[in-house]
Amino acid sequence: PVITILSYFISSFQQRIEIHKLRQGDNLILGFSIGGGIDQDPTQNPFSEDKTDKGIYVTRVTEGGPAEVAGLQIGDKIMQVNGWDMTMVTHDQARKRLTKRNEEVVRLLVTRQSLQKAVQQSMMS
């Protein structure tokens, strides 16, 4: 029962998104762009609420791409990719984890500010 309550809390702040990669010629593309990383400057991130947050954020989502279809939105912070943690990785490590050649499906755990605010509001009311 405790685990279910915790998982309920976790899932209410976060969202699981499953993206099926699209094959374009020789590459598998996901259809979005990432920014951020522990080796980058967090103050220049327009999407983060806390300007010391060095996490990986979605900076662009291509229209009609697999990410948009799966429900990924611009400004999302990616917490996990296929179980791998993305909150304390460098930019290049994040890119590598997303573009593994032998994976056709990536399962992301993202958090969204609008989600957070909605949950907080519903909790307060």
């Binding site: 593309i29 951020g36 291509t62 890119r95």
Partner: protein
Amino acid sequence: MSTAMDTESTYSGYSHYSGHSKKAHRQGRDRHKSPRSKDGSRSEKSVTIQTPPAEPLLGNDASRAEEGQDDNWGETTTAITGTSEHSISQEDIARISKDLEDSVGLDCKRYLGLTVAAVLGLLVFLTPIAFILLPQILWRDDLEPCGTVCEGLFISVAFKLLILLIGTWALFFRQPKADLPRVFVFRALLLVLIFLFVFSYWLFYGVRILDSKDTNYQGIVQYAVSLVDALLFIHYLAIVLLELRQLQPTFTVKVVRSTDGESRYYSLGHLSIQRAALVVLENYYRDFTVYNPALLTASKSRAAKHMAGLKVYNVDGPGNNASGQSRAMIAAAARRRDSSHNELYYEEADHERRVKKRRARLVVAVEEAFTHIKRLQAEEQQKAPGEMMDPREAAQAIFPSMARALQKYLRTTRQQQYHSMESILQHLSFCITNNMTPKAFLERYLNSGPTLQYDRDRWFSKQWTLVSEEAVTSGLQDGIVFVLKCLDFNLVVNVKKIPFIKLSEEFIDPKSHKFVLRLQSETSV
């Protein structure tokens, strides 16, 4: 002792008086030169007459004899300045009488001080020589022979006295540049110290040596040498007290002229108030632009117009509430919806435009005039002996072409009183001699210069009075205010102490300067 640069010479009053008569002559000469000179004199006269808009019957001077509305006449002539005929003669009389009664007293005091100092100096200088010579004269046979030691001491006394003489000449023998109201405290203290010192030496000499006829001549000579040494040390003390102590800046003074608000800041050390006033005045002649009463009349006429035309009627019966009346008048005048600010704005804009136009015409005329003159080189001088002129003649030759433009410009900027035709010609020949460009010639007329640049008659400021709440010989302190008054305006001096500065040090290792590159890259996946 020359009185040329004295601020309070006896003849200042007379020359000022003659300056005013010269002004009348100068205006006469100007009238011959151009027919527009009447504008200048008339604009000055019109200051004293203000016709309030509600009473059109009050006209010019001629109709002052008309009765009836004369009760407002007093209010409208509050703007009397020194330009009207009557007030000039009254001020002049006051000035001359003040000069006469002050000059006699001050000169006596100055001469007395100087004679006392001179007599004391001579006495002090001759004392060591007397100490050495008197035993030789009085009881020569009884003295022990002295030999090399004494000769060495004689030489050292001679040279020390020479050094003392040169030092005293350098330090004290200077032409007094000013007359201060009170005695200079440090100098008086030093004179008293020297007098006591020499007196005590003479006392000991008289009692121990002359009376007992001491035969130890070497001891006597060494006594004289010790006197000269001590005198040199007193001279050192004089240098430190009189010259060195005030060199380090401790106070900043702000000097503001009361008539037009022009202000300057100066740095001073530890001085007495009267000496600080002296420094301020010396710098005033160099730094402040010359006092021009013609520039002040505009604001006074505006103020007079503002208050004119208001009269208080006491409706509730008798009762002379004077302060209430005046307060009511001020309030009413303030609430009055007059457009004097509008007037001021347009007047000033208009004046600026006129000045700029006249300035442009003047610059062009002068540049053209200067092209007519060419300097002859030495070889050319023999070849063409025909039309050679010296600088004065050359100046006179080109002056007429620029005279009119210059006159008009001076009249627009109200400077015409400060430059006579003679002074302009002199300046022109000076510029021609020194190969100056037209711009250099015009610099004197386009900018209002410091008081020193002009003729002494136009200074308006030769006799100064120091007004101070503290004693004038007390030292400067933070927050002291004193005023230097002359007949036409005041200089208000505000003293502030330079703040105590706390400076700390920080060491930065040059190797500690390291930098990182901060990026925000975006990768598409």
